[in-house]
């Protein structure tokens, strides 16, 4: 007798298959960045969909391809997801050509998230540069929506020029329920605020590290200069968190390109503490 094969009992959901979503709203943030608000078409999926601050999604423009974006919206505001897109390549260019009402595909949520549960009762200090504000905006709004769980919520946000600042429509809220410090590398005629890079502004403001978690995200050059500033202020490596960016295709640890040493940014990250980053090879 030929013996029977072991029976397969589970049906596997296909992690490569995106959910269809409609673009509900497009916000022009800057000359090269737009924020998209998308709503899942399937009602049951939309109702049950949830995610955590720090997670990311892979967006499909059918016929062009997929690209990775952080979830910039907060799970405390339900019914939609938001992602900010800087026009740099083919998928981002195609997204910039799209209009409200068009259909995209979304695979989400992917990756780990900020350990915000462990941070209850602590002060939070956000330091973001340019489009690096996108992943932090999710956590910032999440914490502001759970205001009583946290101490002071301070944000330092910088961009090249005033025109490069994203999320201006939320600045009032960030400065009301928390404290917001803005800076630009180069001001213009209407700019009365601080001028200078984020690391230098951090040094000037000199926040105290006691009972505080620092979250920082921005271009590699900003990260390089801001980490020593945090260290000078007395922040330890496990008080500093960031999200890393790598080219991704699958988002589920298979396609092999987003590794740093034996860690995959897509499944072991994108959120890492500076202590964890120091254990990784310097290749990101």
């Amino acid at each position: 007798m030929i013996n029977t094969q072991p029976e397969r009992t589970t049906t596997i959901a296909n992690p490569y298959e995106p959910q269809l979503a409609v673009i509900e709203k497009i916000i022009d943030e800057t000359w090269d960045t737009k924020t998209f608000r998308a709503v899942f078409l399937d009602e049951a999926y939309r109702e049950s969909f949830t995610y955590e601050p720090g997670q990311f999604q892979i967006v499909s423009v059918f016929g062009v391809g997929e690209a990775t974006f952080c979830l910039t919206s907060t799970p405390t505001r339900k019914g939609f997801v938001e992602f900010s897109v800087k026009r740099v390549g083919s998928v981002t260019a195609a997204l910039h050509e799209m209009y409200e009402g068009q259909i995209i595909g979304i695979r989400a949520p992917l990756g780990n998230h900020f350990p915000y549960e462990e941070w209850k009762g602590k002060n939070l200090l956000f330091a973001g540069g340019g489009i690096g504000m996108a992943p932090m905006r999710s956590l910032l709004n999440f914490c502001l929506d759970n205001r009583s769980d946290y101490g002071e919520i301070t944000t330092i946000y910088g961009a090249r020029t005033p025109g490069d600042l994203c999320y201006k429509y939320e600045f009032d809220d960030w400065n009301t329920r928390g404290k917001l410090y803005l800076t630009v590398d180069q001001g213009d005629d209407d700019w009365n605020g601080h001028v200078g890079h984020v690391p230098g502004y951090l040094r000037e403001l000199a926040p105290k590290p006691d009972n505080t978690i620092a979250i920082t995200c921005g271009p590699p050059i900003m990260i390089k200069y801001i980490l020593p500033e945090f260290a000078n202020l007395g922040f330890t490596d496990d008080q500093i968190y960031t999200t890393l960016e790598m080219k991704m295709k699958c988002g589920i640890g298979k396609c092999g390109r987003c590794n740093i040493g034996s860690k995959f940014v897509c499944i072991d990250g994108p959120v890492f503490s500076n202590a964890q980053i120091k254990d990784l090879p310097p290749e990101f």
């Binding site: 059918f62 396609c255 290749e283």
Partner: protein, 344 residues
């Protein structure tokens, strides 16, 4: 589990019987190209003795080009169809034992939860693997130097040892019993011949790094990376022919009214593998790319899954157009950068 003997002149009947129960996949000759694993049709004469270089079996389990999704956008409606292949009982025959072990590496990448790959799983989970040990070892094999090959045996369902006019079929899993049904019992002489062949396989090309724990020895800073990067022409052959390299790309192609989202092979040896849209590339030079491939196989995959990502099949040794010899590199790494002669 009872071992059996398959006389080579009984192979047609053996295949016929297997094909009545399973889809049988085995290396088939191609004109002017290495043999390739194919689903057999009645009357096919596959290469079962492992005597020839063949395209790795991953090409069947993880095709070089595979449509994942078909997306149709008509009349304002978008429909996505997952092109998951049929899940049917299969037997793969004629798989070099190092290639069979390489499938173990693929299994770790594609079958481990929480993200099981449904395309790979449909072809793999219901597939028995019958490995082969050819009568003659290839000069490029160094299997016993990468791992303890005894531990590979339970990972396959049966092993066919080429004893000239017959195969000794060692059954190594319970479900493997179904393959040898109806075959003759081995004699003492057969068993001795099989043991002799196994010993030759096990001790073939034991290189100076064999006893080293390579995952502890491969260092980020080593002059050998610079040397192989200087030679490498980044053709990607080593990863395309490697039985365990599985990195892939995903792209969209517009085909008339529908969009096909496919995946195809990719390799860490290509510059755009890690090149991001905005221009940043964490592995922008050949040196980190050369380092990545070896570190991934011998260190990262060991850290991730406890398996070694190279099984010593020797394809990259034989086929590299500029003679980057992975065995020499490993010798160098373990001998504190002293070049070691490698037998050819």
């Amino acid at each position: 589990m009872a071992d059996k003997i398959l006389a080579k002149d009984k192979i047609p009947e053996f295949l016929q019987r297997l094909m009545s129960k399973f889809t049988v996949v085995a290396p088939m000759e191609r004109k002017d190209a290495p043999a390739e694993f194919k689903e057999l049709s009645p009357g096919d004469k596959p290469i079962l003795d492992g005597s020839r270089m063949m395209m790795p079996p991953k090409d069947y389990l993880l095709p070089r080009y595979e449509v994942l999704l078909r997306v149709r956008q008509t009349g304002g409606e978008t429909k996505i169809e997952s092109m998951i292949p049929e899940d049917k009982p299969r037997v793969m025959l004629g798989v070099w034992l190092p290639d069979a072990q390489a499938i173990q590496v693929l299994d770790r990448v594609f079958l481990e939860e929480p993200f099981k790959d449904p395309y790979y799983a449909a072809r793999r989970e219901n597939t028995m693997i019958v490995a082969v040990i050819p009568a003659e070892m290839r000069w490029s094999w160094f299997c016993g130097s990468t791992d303890d090959v005894e531990t590979w045996k339970p990972n396959v369902d049966a092993i066919m040892y080429d004893l000239g006019d017959r195969f000794y079929v060692e059954v190594t899993s319970e479900r493997g019993e179904s393959i040898v049904e109806g075959l003759a019992d081995p004699t003492e002489e057969d068993i001795a011949a099989k043991n002799g062949l196994w010993e030759r396989f096990k001790t073939h090309n034991i290189l100076p790094f064999a006893d080293e724990k390579l995952y502890n020895r491969l260092e980020w800073d080593n002059s050998v990376w610079e040397e192989i990067a200087a030679k490498c022409v980044a053709c990607g052959m080593c990863s395309y022919m490697c039985p365990s390299c599985s990195c892939f790309d995903i792209q969209d192609e517009v085909c008339g009214t529908c969009v096909e989202r496919y995946r195809c092979r990719d390799t860490c040896q290509f510059e755009d593998f890690t090149l991001m849209g905005a221009g940043h590339n964490p592995r922008s030079e050949q040196l980190p790319r050369s380092r990545q491939r070896l570190m991934h196989k011998f260190k990262y995959q060991h850290e991730q899954f406890g398996v070694v990502g190279c099984t010593g099949c020797g394809r990259c040794v034989e086929l590299c157009p500029v003679n980057v010899d992975i065995r020499e590199v490993l010798c160098r790494v373990c001998a504190g950068n002293q070049p070691e002669p490698v037998s050819k």
